[in-house]
């Protein structure tokens, strides 16, 4: 079901890109990449019942790995994508031994701090460009064809289709059921032999793979990255997408990403009309207000309401 849903979306995007102006094609790519990150985040937050406020760091690691390999080593972004996913996975694996000892609020704080620390590394490490980052990052290519906006949108959504298929298989398997069990009653599940720490660790690493892949594609499609692209605010936006769509929902991840990107566009155009002196930060302010409103009005996300309507 998830696989087919992903393919339908991919087909839709593959058609749309021929009719949309390139600006909107770029937005489609952005929504796809954000959706990919949020699918991974929903596995960790919605299914395993944990919290991560540092997901942007893994996007950054994927982006920086791929960009550094391409710029410094002339490695094709296709390999960079795999390397980005692997490095993000490795970092998540190592960090999980610190972070996953903690629970709930403390885990949220720890992931927040780790995200900030990784961003500091991006800023201070001259080898990867320091605060000015990388520019002129080589793009993806297939033979003689160098990717254009359309191709990136299709690539992003092909990855979404793959990602949602894989995640869909996981959540409907023993693995996914065990995740739900530990999120509902960790000790109860452990007394049945469920290795909760191992499950959480693997899901955290999986979420980092999704983020790393998205980051690698992001780097090549924008051809420019710097540390500010992967700040704490981006992590908060991923949580926002997750919550808006519904954390225990894979479709919700896609809906959440689309809603947040669309809202950003609306705010960008509307806020200056209402508050002429407002700058970019006001968008973030309004997204924050919306997050709080969502948590009060629809704590289980848009998809929960859709599910109730169907039932």
């Amino acid at each position: 079901m998830y696989g087919r849903f992903g393919l339908v979306l991919l087909a839709l995007v593959a058609v749309l890109v021929w009719f949309l102006p390139s600006y909107y094609t770029g937005l489609l790519t952005q929504i796809g990449l954000y959706a990919l990150v949020t699918i991974g985040l929903n596995m960790f937050m919605g299914y395993a019942g944990q919290v991560s406020l540092g997901q942007a760091a893994f996007v950054g690691i994927g982006a920086y790995t791929s960009a550094a390999l391409a710029v410094k080593g002339h490695v094709t972004p296709w390999l960079g994508l795999i390397a980005g996913a692997l490095v993000a996975a490795l970092v998540a694996y190592v960090l999980s031994f610190i972070a996953l000892r903690l629970r709930e609020n403390l885990l949220a704080l720890a992931t927040l701090a780790l995200g900030i620390v990784i961003n500091v590394v991006f800023n201070e490490w001259e080898f990867i460009g320091g605060s000015s980052g990388f520019k002129d990052i080589p793009g993806f290519a297939l033979g003689a064809f160098t990717f254009d906006q359309r191709a990136y949108a299709i690539l992003a959504w092909a990855l979404v289709a793959l990602g949602i298929w894989f995640a869909g298989n996981v959540v409907r398997s023993s693995f996914g059921r065990a995740l739900i069990a530990i999120s509902a009653g960790e000790l109860g599940a452990q007394t049945l032999g469920v290795e909760s720490e191992r499950l959480k660790r693997q899901t955290f690493v999986l979420s980092a793979v999704y983020a790393g892949v998205a980051g690698a594609v992001y780097a090549s499609s924008f051809s420019y990255i710097d540390p500010s692209s992967f700040s704490f605010l981006l992590s908060v936006n991923f949580v926002l997408m997750s919550v808006i769509g519904g954390i225990r929902s894979l479709w919700g991840a896609v809906i959440g990403a689309a809603v947040v990107v669309a809202l950003g566009q609306v705010l960008q155009n509307v806020v200056p009309l209402v508050l002429p002196s407002a700058r970019g930060d006001f968008q973030q302010f309004f997204l924050g207000v919306i997050l709080i409103a969502m948590l009060i009005l629809l704590p289980r996300g848009i998809t929960s309401r859709l599910r109730e309507a169907r039932a």
């Binding site: 065990a178 509902a184 009653g185 452990q190 007394t191 290795e195």
Partner: protein, 271 residues
């Protein structure tokens, strides 16, 4: 000289277990054994240390001193999952439900651990990849798990609940599911913490039937229960705790007549 053949095989050994919380002694130097295919009642007034003792056996609480072993291998010092993998599982005073799963899926969680050698997931990463890629082998195993789960629910007399969301269960149904889930891991030792409290007579009968059939299949059942009448009726032997100490051990009849036990219970009522 003929050796007296013991009909009972020793399974669980609790040796000199003490638990101190700061200055409070919750369990003091408790020693007993539980055997396969018997129901061992654990009695005692409130605060006697029964639940703490269960926490020690199931690996939730590390004892201050003493140790617990099963068939000669040490349980003390192992994590809850590892204790479970060795065949010791439990239920809780307040049933722990896996909200988000159906009744059948909850049992499948327990079964998955058993099917894969005691803990789930088995080999790191491989299981995640097999599930994610939906390999044919993994799908077959899922179908098997589902069939096993239905068989267990039928055995527990709750097959009609199989498709229901766990959020929708009444308290008594939660108890029955928790019990079925625990039995799904094919335990050697099953710790039941007040499995009869707040149940109606039909549910009590269903739980007692489950306990007896677990015993018949060779499980050592440790039963903490405040319903003394039911406990004495179903238990083969009884251990009585008071203020953390073992004050009596023996057949239900002997224990019920023990003046120390009567005193502990009456004393408790007067307090």
């Amino acid at each position: 000289m003929t050796a007296v053949a013991s009909p009972l095989t020793t399974t669980l050994e609790v040796r000199g277990v003490s638990v101190r919380f700061g200055g409070v002694i919750a369990v003091a130097d408790v020693t007993f054994t539980a055997h396969t295919a018997e129901v061992l009642g654990v009695m005692g007034p409130n605060g006697a240390g029964k639940t703490t003792l269960f926490n020690v056996i199931s690996g939730v609480q590390r004892p201050t001193s003493g140790e617990v072993s099963l068939g000669g291998s040490r349980l003390t010092g192992r994590g809850v999952e590892d204790v479970a993998a060795l065949g010791v599982t439990r239920t809780f005073q307040t049933p722990v439900m896996f909200w988000g799963l159906t009744v059948r899926e909850s049992v499948e969680v327990a079964l998955a651990a058993r099917e894969f050698g005691g803990t789930y997931p088995p080999a790191p990463w491989r299981e995640l990849l097999r599930c994610g890629f939906g390999t044919p082998g993994r799908r077959r195993e899922n179908a098997v798990l589902r069939e096993c789960a239905d068989a267990i629910l039928t055995g527990a007399g709750i097959a009609a609940m199989a498709g229901r969301a766990t959020e929708s269960l009444a308290f008594g149904e939660e108890r029955l599911l928790e019990m079925a889930r625990a039995l799904a891991v094919s335990p050697n030792v099953l710790l039941l913490d007040e499995p009869l409290s707040a149940l109606n007579p039909d549910e009590i009968e269903a739980v007692l039937t489950s306990i007896r059939s677990a015993r018949a299949s060779g499980v050592a059942v440790l039963l903490v229960e405040h319903a003394v009448g039911e406990l004495l009726a179903v238990a083969d032997r009884v251990v009585v705790l008071d203020h953390g100490r073992k004050i009596a051990e023996g057949s239900p009849q002997a224990v019920a007549a023990d003046p120390l036990v009567i005193d502990a219970y009456i004393g408790d009522e007067l307090e």
